[in-house]
């Protein structure tokens, strides 16, 4: 079924008349996303690629029943845009914008938790469930429908890896760019939980980077709660300490946030970490095959066990026969099976 976005997703674009907002509205429409509304104060009543523009999110939601918002407004307005979308009643907000003040995000995060609204991002490429919906800027043409869930802190590195997966025949159930900032609305564990419960997802690729401890927490969670196979990749093995590597959240502070610690944490719970991006698809294929074999063996063992138990029960409860003859029909039927 995919997670977080599906065919019921109805999107309102905040900042629809801007350069990126309008460009990506068209891209989303081309992909088949139900973009039902846009918002730019002062431009209500106009249209962008056939999508009606409203003065504010509340009006857009009321008139079009939008349930998801995507934010393209500049960083100085983005925090407010998140609050507005949540108050207007959407259940999912995807914030593409980079540069939101971290102190504001602390407040936003806790506010959204009390409201029960999911935020993906900020500073993220968005989310795509191939064949269902795309809410973001990810290039739809590299994705294919399939059984792999992808969770990533990056944008273009995600595309690189997904491209390889698709070429190797490993399509994706849902791909989520959770974003590169230190405080984000949805983290690895949130996505892992959902993937574990998603019947479409059979394996998971987790793309992390230096900074913070989200990967280490994810490893612990996977050990205790995941039955589906996971493969990892960590960017920034060669990053110097103390420097912000582009993403606000990609910084090694003192002794924490190192790539090698994240790799160790994954390996410790049996998650293989690819050394280079192109190896991920092969690792995932291996893990899926091994998992299937294990599951098949487990299932076969369980069937044999059931049969043995049934036989024992039948022999115990069957009435004692005077003749020594074995019941021929039953044996024949069993042999057929």
């Amino acid at each position: 079924m995919a997670i977080f976005v599906d065919k019921n997703t109805r999107v309102v674009v905040q900042g629809i008349t801007g350069r990126d907002g309008s460009f990506h509205t068209q891209q989303m429409l081309n992909y088949g996303t139900k973009v039902v509304a846009g918002v730019t104060p002062g431009k209500g009543g106009t249209e962008v690629f056939g999508v009606p523009v409203f003065e504010n999110v509340a009006e857009a939601v009321k008139k079009t029943k939008a349930n998801t918002s995507i934010i393209f407004v500049p960083p100085s307005a983005a925090v407010d845009a998140i609050y507005e979308a949540a108050e207007a009643g959407v259940s999912l907000i995807v914030c593409i914008t980079e540069g939101l003040p971290t102190i504001d995000m602390v407040k936003v995060y806790h506010y959204l938790k009390t409201k029960g609204v999911r935020l993906i991002g900020p500073n993220c490429p968005g989310i795509i469930s191939p064949g269902f919906s795309k809410v973001g800027i990810l290039p739809g043409q590299i994705f294919a429908k399939g059984p792999i869930g992808v969770i990533s802190r990056s944008g273009t590195l995600t595309y690189e890896i997904v491209y390889n997966l698709t070429i190797k025949g490993l399509g994706q159930s849902t791909c989520i760019g959770i974003g590169g900032d230190p405080i984000i609305g949805t983290n690895f564990i949130d996505c892992l939980k959902a993937f574990q419960n998603d019947p479409l997802t059979r394996g998971i690729v987790l793309i992390g980077e230096i900074g913070g401890s989200d990967e280490e927490m994810a490893a612990e969670f996977i050990k205790k709660n995941l039955t589906k196979p996971v493969v990892g990749f960590i960017a920034g093995r060669t990053a110097p300490p103390g420097k912000r590597m582009g993403h606000a959240g990609a910084i090694i502070s003192g002794s924490s946030g190192l790539a090698e610690d994240k790799i160790k944490a994954f390996n410790a719970v049996g998650i293989p970490v690819a050394e280079i991006p192109s190896k991920i698809a092969d690792l995932m294929a291996e893990k899926l095959a091994a998992h299937k074999k294990k599951a098949t063996l487990k299932s076969a063992k369980s069937t044999l066990k059931k049969r043995a138990t049934k036989k024992a029960v039948t022999q115990k409860t069957a009435p004692k026969r005077r003749s020594a003859k074995k019941p021929v029909k039953k044996t024949a039927a069993r042999k057929k099976k």
């Binding site: 995000m105 590169g180 960017a235 582009g246 280079i276």
Partner: protein, 376 residues
């Protein structure tokens, strides 16, 4: 963004925090004059963006103006962990009866602003956390209601037995937290917070790290940036909205996306090369941005090849291709260029690149190997 102790103290003073009198000087005789003015022993403290100044000999007690002159002379021009001291802070020496630690950080795990206090001040707090963690008290501040007075008192009482001193401490903690919020900091620290001979609490040192994402709403703080302490190339890149970190290798990298840029650096090393830099030209790239990126990279004399690794998402490959072509025409680079352009509008990009016949590929591994071959 990092700022100096004297700048942090200025900010603290604005928020009502007690700091020793002091002034910043750039010459030894200025230090002597300041000491004469204060008419008591002073401290001369190196103003550089690193910790461990004391150990490196950058903080000295001066019992008279002549010693102030001498110490300032020693310290100005000193190299402390790679940074040259250009300014020193001359402050009144304080009679230290006790030292404590008070700080505020944004904790990524709990996603809250966390206040840390410890009676073990004057030492590296990470060391205290390792060796005697029981000497640290942490409190996450409610994100909606903020810090309440009874909480500040609770924290202060972890440091100070005496209730009167604890109330002083609580007041300082409240003001420190207000300062943290008021400047969009990612970290503020008073280490050490000392009690002087009169029983008054004073911030002997001050540290503030500002959230880069908050600077747009604090233009007066942006002005505090010490351009001497930062790589000129990194400053220029920031102005052009690029992320750039200089490294020491010879393979210049221009990539769209921070994660991909890090992975490209890693891949260069994996195949035996040495990256010259990290550079993310970001999304929404324009030909002008590509030109600026190339100019910054070419200014690094170590660079012997430029590698482009572009996977188009928001970034349009034809924009990048135009940028490369324009840059080559204007800058006439002294080094070969290898190119990987994949994604949005890649066909248009290919047409543009064909004219110059740059070694081009669709594969990230290939372009890295090509770059390494060029410098071999």
């Amino acid at each position: 963004m990092k700022i100096h102790e004297y700048q942090a103290k200025e900010i603290f003073a604005k928020f009502g925090l007690p700091i020793p009198k002091g002034e910043v000087v750039i010459a030894p005789d200025e230090a002597r004059n300041a000491a004469i003015h204060y008419n008591r022993p002073v401290m001369v403290k190196a103003q550089v963006h690193v910790g461990g100044r004391g150990k490196a000999g950058g903080i000295k007690y001066c019992k008279d103006p002549d010693e102030a002159f001498f110490n300032a002379q020693e310290i100005l021009g000193m190299d402390i962990k790679g940074l040259i001291v250009k300014k020193v802070l001359v402050t009144e020496a304080v009679d230290i009866k006790s030292e404590a630690y008070v700080g505020v950080i944004i904790d990524r795990l709990s996603k809250k602003n966390v206040i840390m206090v410890s009676p073990a001040g004057g030492i590296d707090i990470e060391q205290v956390a390792k060796e005697t963690p029981e000497k640290i008290m942490k409190m996450g501040v409610d994100p909606i209601y903020g810090l309440r007075a009874f909480e500040a008192l609770q924290l202060a009482r972890f440091i100070y037995q005496d209730i009167k001193v604890a109330r002083q401490g609580a007041d300082i903690i409240m003001k420190l937290y207000k300062a943290f919020l008021g400047v969009d900091a990612s970290l503020v620290e008073i280490n050490p917070l000392v009690m002087d001979g009169q029983g008054t609490l004073i911030a002997l040192d001050a540290k503030i790290n500002l959230d880069d994402n908050g600077l747009y709403r604090h233009p007066e703080l942006e002005k505090m940036r010490d351009l001497d302490a930062e790589e000129p190339a990194e400053i220029e890149a920031k102005k052009a909205d690029l992320s750039y970190v200089r490294l020491s290798g010879n393979i210049g990298c221009i990539v769209n996306g921070a994660g991909l840029a890090m992975a490209t650096m890693d891949l260069v090393k994996y195949f035996g090369g040495q990256p010259a830099n990290f550079l993310d030209i970001g999304g929404s790239s324009s030909p002008e941005k590509v030109m600026t990126a190339m100019r910054i990279i070419l200014n690094d004399s170590n660079v012997a090849v430029i590698l482009f690794n572009i996977f188009g998402g928001i970034t349009r490959c034809d924009d990048v291709a135009n940028g490369i072509v324009q840059a080559v025409e204007k800058l006439n680079p002294r080094v070969p260029i290898v190119v990987r352009l994949t994604g949005t509008n890649e066909d248009k990009a290919k047409e543009i690149m064909q004219k110059y016949q740059f070694p081009a590929t669709n594969s990230m591994e290939e372009v890295v190997k090509m770059a390494i071959k060029e410098v071999a």
